[in-house]
């Protein structure tokens, strides 16, 4: 896809403590695509493994052209999100819990909605536990 925007999402740290602050920046190279429908930034945990996927979103922000927020989106955009105390990152047999920052860009191209999603994983663990999990 030639018109796919190039996205960079970077975190200041990949290992965080419960109630810690996740800081980082995202950049959309060359700015958002011409017909952008939405840009969504979220911090979430999700499960993987044998069970159906569950997710929990602790931070969600959206910029859209309809409400004028897209025009005000700084590029690059820095963020700082305070994380909750739980759930901790976990790598079990049937259940795994991952934490990630996610940027989702949706735009219109040739009459169809396109999207690109960028995920960056990090871990949420108390210092005493990181050695095992």
């Amino acid at each position: 896809m030639t018109d796919e925007p190039s996205i960079r999402l970077e975190l200041a740290a990949r290992s965080l403590a419960p109630r810690g602050e996740l800081a980082g920046v995202f950049v959309i190279a060359g700015g958002p695509p011409t017909d952008t429908k939405s840009i969504e930034f979220s911090v979430l945990w999700r499960t993987s493994g044998k069970g159906t996927e569950d997710i929990g979103v602790v931070h969600y922000e959206a910029w859209k052209p309809d409400d004028g927020t897209l025009a005000a989106l700084p590029n690059p955009n820095t963020f700082a999100v305070v994380l909750p105390p739980t759930p901790w990152s976990y790598n079990g047999n049937l259940v795994k819990i991952h934490w990630l920052a996610r940027l989702r860009v949706r735009w219109e191209s040739l009459g169809r909605t396109r999207e690109v999603v960028k995920d960056v994983e990090f871990t949420l663990n108390p210092a005493a536990r990181t050695s095992k999990w």
């Binding site: 017909d35 069970g51 997710i55 976990y90 079990g92 259940v95």
Partner: protein
């Protein structure tokens, strides 16, 4: 910003249109097949021609439909997903509590949210010796027995009709090996159901002999790395002997397989709290002990389809032979 073309149908309506095409096509080709089969019958054609005439129109239609419309349907479905609200925007309503991905969650009220999101604290009752009396985990054996016994009776009643028919045929010397072969797996399932029913019957019998077992702890929820005292008592006719007490962590994953929902469970960590070989009384009740939750353990976790549960597992022997096992729910909190 170009405005969407109002004449252009949405992906969802295009998927609906494809389904209507399939439904109408299947109906028409079904009737056509039936007409051709009837025509072949009146023309006294061989049986295989009637068979081909019946299935050919529907088969040709479905093959053509699959080749032309399925790639379109997949494309429309993907587009519909891209036009739908993102999973993150819907899940944000629940403010960090777990929801099944892609479903609409209930908003979580402030008074419903505990100190630790996704850590559901088990309800305890006031204990007689220690502060908290733990609830029993899982479905009681009596309920399990009831469900399995009803299913076993229904299954075996139906299967036995065919088995008696097969036995009658056998006695008349008309053995239909195809039928016997077809019936065998159903008979095996019936036997397995009887075995499970007998096992559950034994479990219920043992539970009746043992009576009520109470597990109490001094602290609840128990923090990771924290210590709690534990007290076990029995109120039943036959004494439970060689009692072993363990703190067990179990992962639980619910998934959809075909049209049914299943739950897989696996013990991933266990710590012995009291072992009969190390207990001066040889594991007799009442029993008092102290235990510490491992400092590198995972906290209790509850999401709609994925769980990490902690339990106190009590096992023992009745009359020196019959095995007994009960789990009691406990919450392990992060701090």
């Amino acid at each position: 910003m170009p405005q969407p073309d109002p004449a252009s149908p949405s992906p969802n309506s295009r998927i609906k249109r494809l389904m209507v095409v399939w439904f109408v096509g299947s109906l028409v080709t079904g009737f056509l097949g039936m007409a051709l089969a009837v025509g072949a019958m009146f023309a006294q054609a061989p049986a295989w021609i009637m068979f081909v005439a019946f299935f050919a129109p529907a088969t040709v239609f479905n093959l053509a439909y699959a080749a032309i419309f399925i790639p379109k349907a997949v494309r429309y479905a993907r587009e519909a997903a891209r036009n739908a609200p993102s999973p993150e925007s819907t899940a944000a309503v629940a403010a960090g509590e777990g929801v099944e991905a892609g479903t609409t969650p209930k908003p979580i009220l402030d008074d419903e949210r505990g100190d630790f999101p996704t850590v559901e604290v088990v309800d305890t009752k006031p204990g007689k010796v220690l502060l908290h009396s733990l609830p029993r985990a899982g479905i009681p054996p009596g309920c399990q027995l009831g469900c399995v016994a009803i299913f076993a009776v229904l299954w075996n009643s139906i299967v036995s009709t065919f088995v008696f028919q097969a036995i009658n045929d056998w006695n008349r010397g008309q053995v239909q090996w195809g039928g016997v072969l077809f019936l065998s797996p159903f008979v095996l399932i019936g036997l397995a159901l009887i075995a499970v029913t007998l096992y559950l019957l034994l479990t219920v019998f043992v539970s009746l002999l043992v009576g009520r077992v109470e597990v109490e702890v001094s602290d609840h929820p128990i923090a990771i790395g924290g210590t709690s005292r534990i007290q076990l008592a029995q109120f039943g006719v036959v004494p439970l002997a060689r009692v072993k007490v363990m703190l067990v962590c179990t992962e639980e994953a619910t998934y959809v397989a075909g049209t049914s929902q299943s739950t897989a469970k696996r013990d991933v960590e266990s710590k012995v709290i009291s072992h009969p070989d190390e207990d001066p009384s040889g594991g007799a009740l009442p029993l008092a002990a102290e235990f510490t939750v491992p400092p590198d353990a995972m906290h209790s976790f509850t999401a709609p389809n994925n769980k990490i549960n902690w339990t106190i597992r009590v096992t023992g022997r009745v009359l020196g032979l019959l095995p007994f096992s009960n789990d009691f729910s406990v919450t392990v909190s992060p701090g």
